[in-house]
């Protein structure tokens, strides 16, 4: 008989109890590249909140600043009741956020851009600063006695990813940055291998997304390098590897929460005019997951929400 595969569906499972607020439309607009696992979790959080709160969710994404701005403009054209937007490229968002304000559409910022959120007129911020997350990783590595990490960026020029590595580098100046072509795992694998062959003294490899970290792990194992692996973000496999001690830790931004809270914000507004965060950024991370607490997380990672 076959093993693995799709878990056989079992009956039951609670359907969310309905809310009584009128149906509204909320747009969540990110700078995600298509098919990014991190943003998939953000989106799932947003979807769950929308389903629960009787909200029509419009999720769109564009990695380019100008393109993302046009998506925001389109949401304004569609007269949505609220917009949640990532501010990875705040300059590009300035004009359209002003347009949103003029159209009386409330905006919240998620994921990135805590510093500029208020200035651009976002009413709240839900996210974790990539730089702070990067510094957390750097600190943790420093504490563990690592001195020569390699930070693997799978998309050159991506603001969030560059910030993460910059954060690490701020703590450990000897950090080396390696660019790999994220669209092709075989190239990720072989380029990490070649970097390890070239830098024998490297003692840690940091992946900036769960799938890339797992590939880095394989490369490290294959080359027989002594480098340890650290990561950003989570998925079930990664959590398992932490549990197995193959990966030392990861920094989780809890992306599910970012999506969830962003949508929830508009419902709370509708329901009782609540102001989440009270004008202060609501941080969803960084939460460090290591062997000590991985058991608590693993189950949720398998569910696809961590």
């Amino acid at each position: 008989s076959a093993t693995g595969g799709r878990p056989q569906p079992n009956s039951g499972g609670g359907a969310g109890s309905g809310v009584t607020t009128p149906r509204i439309t909320v747009a969540v607009i990110s700078h995600s590249a298509p098919g990014d696992t991190f943003w998939d979790i953000v989106r799932r959080g947003a979807e769950e909140a929308a389903a629960k709160d009787n909200i029509n969710l419009l999720y769109t994404a564009q990695p380019e600043g100008a393109g993302q701005a046009q998506l925001v403009q389109q949401a304004i054209d569609q007269k949505v009741s609220g917009i949640a937007v990532t501010l990875a490229k705040p300059d590009a968002m300035k004009t359209v956020l002003a347009n949103a304000k003029a159209a009386n559409i409330p905006v919240v910022a998620i994921n990135a851009g805590a510093a500029s959120a208020k200035e651009l007129g976002a009413r709240a911020f839900f996210g974790a600063d990539d730089r702070i997350a990067g510094e957390a990783v750097g600190q943790k590595l420093l504490d563990g006695g690592y001195a020569r990490p390699i930070c693997v960026i799978h998309e050159q020029g991506n603001v969030g990813l560059e910030e993460r590595c910059a954060g690490v580098k701020a703590k450990i100046p000897a950090t080396e940055i390696l660019y790999v072509q994220g669209s092709d795992m075989t190239q990720v694998s072989s380029t990490i291998t070649s970097k390890l062959q070239a830098t024998a003294e490297a003692d840690a490899v940091i992946g900036l997304g769960a799938p890339y970290t797992l590939t880095a792990l394989r490369a490290v194992q294959a080359t027989g390098s002594k480098a340890k692996i650290a990561s950003f973000d989570l998925n079930a496999d990664l959590a398992q590897q932490i549990k197995d001690g193959k990966i030392i830790f990861t920094v989780d931004q809890q992306p599910w929460l970012q999506g969830y809270l962003a949508v929830e914000y508009f419902w709370q507004q509708l329901r009782g005019g609540f102001e989440m965060g009270g004008g202060q950024p609501v941080l969803t991370g960084p939460a460090i997951v290591d062997q000590g607490n991985v058991d608590a997380v693993l189950k949720f990672a398998q569910e696809g929400i961590r």
């Binding site: 600043g65 100008a66 389109q74 054209d77 569609q78 300059d91 590009a92 998309e155 020029g157 560059e162």
Partner: protein
């Protein structure tokens, strides 16, 4: 031998006005555009609002501006893979230069123009000197510019984004030129739409009514034959690359002044949008055939499909799928219209 004599030629079947009209090369893509338009107007009512339409136009114009230069280049038988990043290079030049030397931004704008034209000239020069295919040459410039954008921005500005220059001398004026909006019927229309229209008009004029236009068709259609009858092939090609550079400069300046800063890693991949627009609009990849207006319609179809899917609120997972389907259908409509017209 007058037109009258020809009309009465017994070797030609008479065509009525409609058939003649449908036989024009652009009409196919126009019909394609109309079909896409009607489709989205039906599935997404918001698409018809003037404000939405202005957004669609804006989206189309940022592709369309470059598609003008790229169409001409493609008619001239060449290919440019460096356009996407060259736009960003231009914007980065202007902002980094003005910022670093604390000059009036117009100095940077002028320098950016020189750099943009220079990149085009370099592409063209290497191409004509080495006779390497333009795919290779511009691929190399593409890679080099990508590296330069990232490397220099980090070197000069210390970050992956260019430093903000919105508080610098001349910024306000430049913004009011390159990133203005023009109110039309109560809707703010981005100035890029007008740049786009102007560029299409100028390019069409050049193509159809000047000697250079004749040469462009000739070098793309058969460079050896063109050379044999005395067309300056190398100069024409270099000029075409510089024309692309000019379009890139306009778009780069818009990007810079609309947003105040530029991400050094952006632009990669956009070169294909421009090529796609040109090809949808009927330019032959192999050169020698096409029109500037066709490229504009291509950009418009692409822009409509791109934005229309969002307005239609379809599941974004399938965005690309629908985009591909739209594209195929639009070009098929184009084809069918043209074939039917020819058969008549």
């Amino acid at each position: 031998m007058s037109a009258l004599a020809n009309a009465a030629d017994e070797r030609v079947r008479p065509r009525n006005g409609l058939q003649q009209f449908l036989g024009r090369p652009e009409i196919g893509s126009v019909v394609g555009a109309i079909v896409v338009f009607l489709f989205f107007a039906a599935v997404a009512p918001v698409f018809l609002q003037p404000a939405s339409f202005a957004t669609v136009l804006y989206g189309a114009s940022t592709i369309g501006i470059m598609a003008v230069g790229v169409s001409l280049l493609m008619i001239g038988g060449e290919f440019d893979l460096s356009t996407g990043v060259a736009v960003i290079s231009s914007a980065l030049t202007a902002s980094l230069f003005s910022w670093f030397f604390v000059f009036n931004v117009w100095v940077g704008v002028g320098l950016a123009l020189l750099v943009s034209l220079g990149i085009g000239m370099l592409n063209g020069w290497i191409l004509t000197k080495t006779k390497l295919p333009s795919f290779i040459v511009t691929l190399a410039t593409f890679l080099m510019l990508t590296g330069l954008n990232l490397g220099l921005t980090r070197l000069v500005g210390g970050s992956v984004a260019s430093p903000g220059i919105s508080d610098m001398d001349g910024f306000a004026l430049a913004k009011s030129i390159f990133a203005a909006t023009v109110p039309i019927a109560g809707v703010e229309v981005q100035i890029t739409v007008f740049f786009w229209i102007a560029l299409v008009a100028v390019a069409s004029w050049i193509l159809l009514r000047t000697r250079v236009g004749n040469w462009i068709f000739a070098v793309g259609g058969d460079a050896a034959a063109a050379r044999a009858v005395g067309v300056p092939v190398a100069k024409t090609k270099i000029g075409l690359f510089m024309g692309v550079g000019f379009c890139g400069w306009i778009l780069g300046m818009h990007n810079l002044f609309a947003f105040g800063a530029v991400q050094s890693g952006e632009g990669v991949g956009n070169e294909f949008l421009y090529i796609i627009a040109a090809v949808i609009g009927g330019c032959l990849l192999t050169g020698g055939y096409g029109s500037a207006i066709g490229g504009a319609i291509g950009a418009f179809i692409f822009g409509m499909a791109n934005k229309g899917i969002v307005y239609a609120q379809w599941n974004p997972d399938w965005f690309k799928f629908f985009l591909g389907l739209m594209l195929l259908l639009a070009t098929l409509v184009n084809l069918v219209v043209r074939r039917r017209a020819e058969r008549k």
